[in-house]
Structure formats: C-alpha cells, structure tokens
C-alpha cells in the first residue's frame, strides 16, 4: 500500500459568501497550483473530509508529493478570483480528522472550566 500524507487545511477567504466551496473546486484549485508550479499533471489527491461551513478540508497525497503540495498550497492566493489563504494547520502520515480535533478541544475546554 502506498504511503500517504494527510493535510488539514483551513480556508481563509476575503469574501466567503461570494464563492462556492465544493470539494471538486478545491481539488482543481490545488491541482492547478501543482501544475503551474511544478508541472505535476494530474497527481493523486483524495479529499478525505470537507466542510463548507467550517471552511476546513482534509485531503491526502502520496508521500513523494508532500513537499511539492505544501509549497503549492502556500502559493495559492486566489480561489475563484477572491483573495484567499489556505492555512496548513497540520500535516501527518496518519489519518487526520478536524471534527475529532474540534471535539477534543471542546472537551478540553469544558474540563478546564470544571
């Protein structure tokens, strides 16, 4: 089985209401960046989790594409002509899930309040 790297991304958009956030559009945005920067045509990029409300995405790429993907994401400045910043919150070789991490944070907060 091929090794993968997981990326947990937070989408920061100047005007979130003016864009359509879908997994397909996000995927094509990242693939375009990879293509324009490293000429990597159609590499494997699988979206694991996507939340348009929370502006969060978890996707995975093959291990050998980790560095290139990271650099490409840092250089993305527009999503559908709207200035944006795809903030890389975490990368990991093991599976990531932003919903679980949010739950953990919330449970940590509630225990600290007690």
């Amino acid at each position: 089985m091929a090794n993968h790297y997981y990326f947990d991304i937070k989408l920061k958009l100047r005007d979130p209401d003016a864009v359509v956030l879908t997994p397909a559009l996000f995927r094509s945005c990242v693939l375009d960046a990879l293509d324009s920067f490293f000429c990597e045509e159609k590499p494997t990029l699988e979206i694991v989790k996507f939340s348009a409300q929370q502006h969060r995405v978890v996707f995975r790429v093959p291990e050998e594409l980790h560095d290139m993907t990271r650099i490409s994401i840092e250089h993305i400045s527009h999503y559908q002509q709207i200035p944006c910043h795809f903030e890389i919150l975490e990368t990991s070789k093991s599976s990531l899930d932003f919903e679980k991490s949010i739950e953990k944070t919330l449970s940590g907060l509630s225990s600290s309040e007690d």
């Binding site: 920061k12 100047r14 324009s36 560095d67 990271r70 650099i71 840092e74 250089h75 400045s77 200035p83 944006c84 910043h85 903030e87 890389i88």
Partner: protein, 290 residues
Amino acid sequence: MEQTKPFYDFCVPYNKDDSVMRALLSELVETGYKTVAIDQSFDHSKKEAGKRGSEMFPEPHKIEHLRREFQDKLRILQRITILYVDVNVAHAMSVSQNLRKFNLIAGQPKTDAALTHCCTAFNGDLITFDPAAGSRLLVNRKAYQVAVRRGMFFEIKYAPSIADSNYRKDMIKVAQNYCTKGKSKNIIFSSGAAHEFQLRGPYDVANLAFIFGLSEDQGKNAVDRHCRQLFLKAESRRLGKTVMFVKGNGPIVFSDSSEDEQSTEDDEMKADAFEVKDETEHAIKRLKMA
C-alpha cells in the same frame, strides 16, 4: 539586553489605512509572529541634487496607537528602505537625525554600482531588492562575502512571489544567486505583504527554503535566529559606543570562608562598594563636564 521573541517579520509595508494595518497585524499575531517591523520606503534618487540638504530622510510614521493596541502580543519596530542609485546617499545618511529614529535601515540598490556599494560600504543593516525590477541585479561573489563579513543581511520577500508568478521566477533566480555566490549565508525571509491574505505562517515560510535553495536549518534561521542577529546589529548601530556601569546587588560570598570571616569581609566589601560608587559618580560628573 533588548528582548525580542521569535518569530520575526521585518517587512510589513506601511499603509495609511489603519484598518488594513490592523488586519495585517492581527493576522501576524494569529499566525505566530511576535516581532514585526513596519516598513516605509524612501527614494533617494528622486530627490533633486540641489535640495540635498542636511535632513532629507522622512520621520517615522506615527504608529503609537498600533503599538498600544498590540502591546502584549507584538513588538512593533520601524524600518526604512532607502532606494538609491549612487553613493551620495552615504553622506546624507551620516548627517541624518531622522534615520536614528528607525530600528532598521534597509538599502535597495537600483544599479550594479549601488549594489556593490550596498554590500561594501552601506551604513545599514539589510540589503533588499525590488521584485518589480526583476532579477536584473545579481550580486557577485566578492561583494556578497564582504557583506556577510560586515554583518549585513540579505532579504527575500515571499509575498510578491505569492501575488504574481512572474515575480516568483525572479525571486527564485535571485535566491539561487545568493545560494551559488554565497551559500545563502545571512538570509532572512520577510513578507512584504500588502494585505493579510498574502501572509503565511512562520513554519510555512521556513518551508519555502525548499524552493529558494536554502537548507532546512537556513530556512528556520531565516525567520528566527538571523532576524534576532539583525535586530541586535541594528541596535548596536543606533546606540553606537556605549558606556556600561555594572553594579553588584550584594557582597560576593566565598563558600570556603567561615561565617565570622564572612561577616567581616561583607563589611569591608560594603565599604569598598561605597567607595567604588563614589568613584563612579565622580567619573560620571567628569564625563558630563567633558
């Protein structure tokens, strides 16, 4: 010693619009920066020769309200970037009082001669370049080595490379030139971001070392250690020769002496300390007289 905390971004362009500055600074706080410098540009070459008087550099912008607003979160410094074409700038810099009010002075040469001067004789802290001018100016090996020996730092801004792919090519070319000519010594990364969406976190910026020809360590140092060194160098340039008085808080206690001996020694030391203090006061008076 002046305290600063990592991470550093020494090029946040000044914007008259406070809301833009606030958004930029808030994003810097959120992404993990602790020390930033607000940059203002000054084009020396546009000044007419006849008008080159004693003071031609502008005063720093008033940013006290921003400092107050972010006082617990960010340390905000002020920087001036001097764009110049000839060595006449050296005289203007030597007589300027306003320049002392800036924490950092950067030089942005416009010609090859100015670039060589910037590396060998410029009385500033940092050498930067104009991304819009492309990779026309490339530093030579000797000038680079002289600059490194003088403690100058070379700046690479990443925001232009995010904004435009043409700038990105030039940026990579300039960075590769630093790599081949001087093994990427004394490089710092800064943003030069016009708005908050062009800012990236310090770890992401350090990761840009991958395309700029720096090693992993050099990439980390470019947003942390080198910036600290640059700040200390700039502070020493601003303060110049400094007289320091070291004053002990209490007597020196020798562990191998008995308590009685210690107490007598303590008394003697207190007396000595008073004498030293008197002498120091006399010395200060003499200095003031001089």
